[in-house]
């Protein structure tokens, strides 16, 4: 902690004369990411996905807006992000799969490749704090991802204005902005996890495989396992009262929400579809008297707040363990 405050102090002093070591490291990391083939391929992949999703939704936007029974029909730009005709999933669902890939591929060799090539010792022999290296790896990748997503979303909005002539409303702008932030945070979690693995494993290939293994487990197998366990423990449903079923459902959902992909899905769905009122099952009594209207932005944000803090907590946990592992470790190759 003392080191950390000292590093900030030194950073602020040196910032005035010539960039602090931390920002020099961030600049170099961004530089080498942008020039790498890996990033160009990922960029193309994300851009292609975005373009595909947009193309499909542009074709169907007329029908979606004309659908009066849908309470969200007034939100043109949210509809642009969520409408599909069934051939291609909407962008935010796509991102549920692609986001981890992006995070993992930007971080899986962060530390171990430096150690393998012998640059780690050389950098550590310079007057910089050890945590600056770790932080710069994380921050630089996060900056890249943010720039990528913000520009994609802004492009989408710009194209929408050009094509439809409808101006974006504040409510929509805020929702889309927070959607983008949640995307960046979701990818940030995977980035943190892959940096942690890159410290733990000496071989880049091992750490990449482990990260992909965790990703597959959380997105595919975790839900199956939770379902199997719940089915084994819970008595058959026709013996239960409605309240008990609700209760068990609630438990099932909370276990599912341990997976970050579930948190992300919940959060983005709520933000992009303003008519979603609750993320847990609702009884008929609770629904009685409710008018199917969209929620305000703040109300939606309140609903997803636990999800957002869960994502942040998971990222922080990954990053804290990275610190713990890295600060104490021998750096010789």
């Amino acid at each position: 902690m003392k080191n950390l405050t000292a590093s900030f102090k030194i950073g602020s002093i040196e910032n005035k004369s010539h960039g602090s070591p931390f920002w020099i490291m961030v600049r170099k990391e961004i530089d080498s990411h942008i020039r790498s083939w890996r990033f160009i391929i990922l960029l193309l992949l994300i851009a292609l996905t975005f373009w595909g999703a947009m193309y499909v939704s542009m074709n169907n936007i007329r029908a979606a807006i004309a659908n009066i029974s849908d309470p969200d029909q007034m939100f043109l730009y949210l509809k642009l992000l969520t409408t599909t005709e069934g051939t291609l999933p909407p962008f935010h669902v796509f991102l549920n799969f692609l986001g981890p890939l992006l995070g993992i591929s930007l971080g899986f060799d962060a530390i171990n490749s430096e150690q393998q090539s012998g640059t780690l010792t050389r950098i550590m022999a310079q007057p910089v704090y050890r945590d600056n290296l770790l932080l710069s790896k994380f921050v630089s990748a996060l900056i890249l991802i943010s720039v990528l997503f913000f520009s994609l979303v802004l492009l989408m909005v710009g194209c929408g204005i050009l094509l439809t002539g409808v101006l974006i409303e504040l409510e929509e702008a805020l929702r889309i902005l927070s959607f983008t932030i949640i995307c960046v945070m979701y990818i940030g979690f995977w980035l943190g996890l892959s940096i942690l693995l890159s410290i733990r494993f000496k071989q880049a290939a091992t750490s990449a495989l482990t990260a992909i293994g965790i990703w597959l487990f959380l997105t595919v197998f975790y839900q199956i396992i939770v379902n199997i366990i719940v089915r084994a423990l819970v008595p058959t449903s026709h013996q239960l009262t409605q309240n008990e079923i609700l209760h068990y459902n609630e438990i099932l959902l909370s276990f599912l929400r341990l997976a970050p992909s579930q948190l992300y899905t919940d959060a983005t769905n709520t933000l992009l579809m303003p008519s979603i009122r609750s993320l847990s099952p609702i009884t008929m009594e609770q629904m009685a008297g409710a008018i199917p209207t969209p929620l305000s932005f703040l109300d939606s944000l309140m609903i997803v707040w636990p999800q957002v803090s869960g994502l942040i907590a998971a990222t922080v946990a990954c990053f804290a363990s990275s610190y713990y592992l890295f600060m104490r470790r021998e750096i010789r190759s």
Partner: protein, 322 residues
């Protein structure tokens, strides 16, 4: 002499039950070239890492340039340039970019850094054409030079080179060591050099320390080391003659009677004379006066090889006795 630039006191580092460095005491003066000599796994690199605060010692203290390296590593790293044994550069950057990056991390203003990096690359003898080559195209020797530039760009007071001659060809080694020597003399740099190549250390070092099994067995300059070690037979002269053995045997008592001569061994036509003082001219004159055809005179000097060998033997016998 009172104010050493590197001072190690009771330095110990344990990895589990293994003692990598064992109660090391060492001080190095400003402007000195010190050779840390020892076989692989003797704990040289561990000691160096502790000097830079990259590894925490189990006990003992390290002071470099007046700063405690364990509690204040950043200040030490500002003053000390370190070249690791396995040098690595960012392969996707050019040599100049690599060097500029290190310069910037050391707080050199961006207006000066390019100029200073170019100056350093010239200083270590890299050609202008190579500056903008990717480091992946560099040969081992060029990388080593780039590594030296990398160490020098921060204008250090002390440079620590871990196995700097590893993997370069003999001509390259000679050039490289001469460069280090010249730089040290010109800029008053203190150099700590670790190596297991005895001859190379012998060429440039003012003082050496022999390091085996985590312990500094002995330190001092080459003369004093050989005097300590070979006190019982300090000078040895080997003379080859073209005469019969019988003629040698005839003069044997006279030879033994010469002043300072301790022992004479005759083996066919070569005569080994051990004496307590350097009387080579005297011995040659003696042989010539007696009518010998002297074909060769060789004065045996103890190089680091012998010293090293001797210490190693001693150490081994001590261990086996235990």
């Amino acid at each position: 002499m009172d104010n050493p630039i590197i001072e190690l006191r009771g330095l110990t580092k344990c990895y589990g039950t293994l003692k990598a460095v064992d109660d090391l005491n060492l001080s190095i003066q400003k402007g000195e070239i010190f050779g840390l000599l020892g076989p692989n796994g003797a704990g040289k690199t561990t000691t160096i890492l502790m000097m830079l605060g990259l590894t925490d010692p189990t006990s003992g203290s390290v002071k470099v340039c007046g700063y405690n390296a364990t509690s204040n590593p950043i200040s030490v790293k500002r003053k000390v340039g370190y070249m690791p044994d396995s040098l690595g550069f960012y392969d996707n950057m050019t040599a100049l970019e690599n060097l500029i990056y290190i310069g910037e991390l050391n707080g050199i203003p961006s207006s000066e850094v390019r100029e200073r990096a170019t100056e350093m690359l010239r200083l270590v003898g890299l050609k202008d054409d190579d500056f903008n080559k990717k480091t992946s195209e560099y040969s081992r020797g060029m990388k080593q030079r780039l590594g030296l530039a990398d160490v020098l760009i921060k204008r250090p007071d002390v440079i620590i080179l871990d196995e700097p001659t590893l993997g370069i060809d003999p001509a390259g080694v000679k050039d490289f060591l001469e460069l280090i020597h010249a730089l040290s003399r010109r800029q008053g740099l203190t150099v700590l050099l670790s190596s297991h190549h005895l001859h190379q250390v012998q060429q440039v070092c003012d003082r050496v320390g022999i390091f085996v099994g985590g312990k500094l067995l002995v330190e001092g300059n080459l003369d004093s080391l050989s005097k300590n070690l070979f006190s019982d037979k300090s000078y040895e002269v080997q003379i080859t003659v073209q005469n019969d053995t019988s003629m040698v045997m005839k003069h044997y008592p006279e030879l033994l009677a010469l002043e300072y001569v301790q022992e004479v061994m005759v083996k066919e036509q070569t005569i080994d004379i051990v004496c307590s003082w350097d009387i080579t001219p005297h011995i040659v004159r003696f042989f010539v006066a007696k009518g010998f055809n002297v074909a060769g005179v060789q004065k045996k000097q103890y190089g680091l090889d012998d010293i090293y060998q001797k210490y190693f033997e001693n150490n081994l016998t001590e261990h086996s006795q235990q």
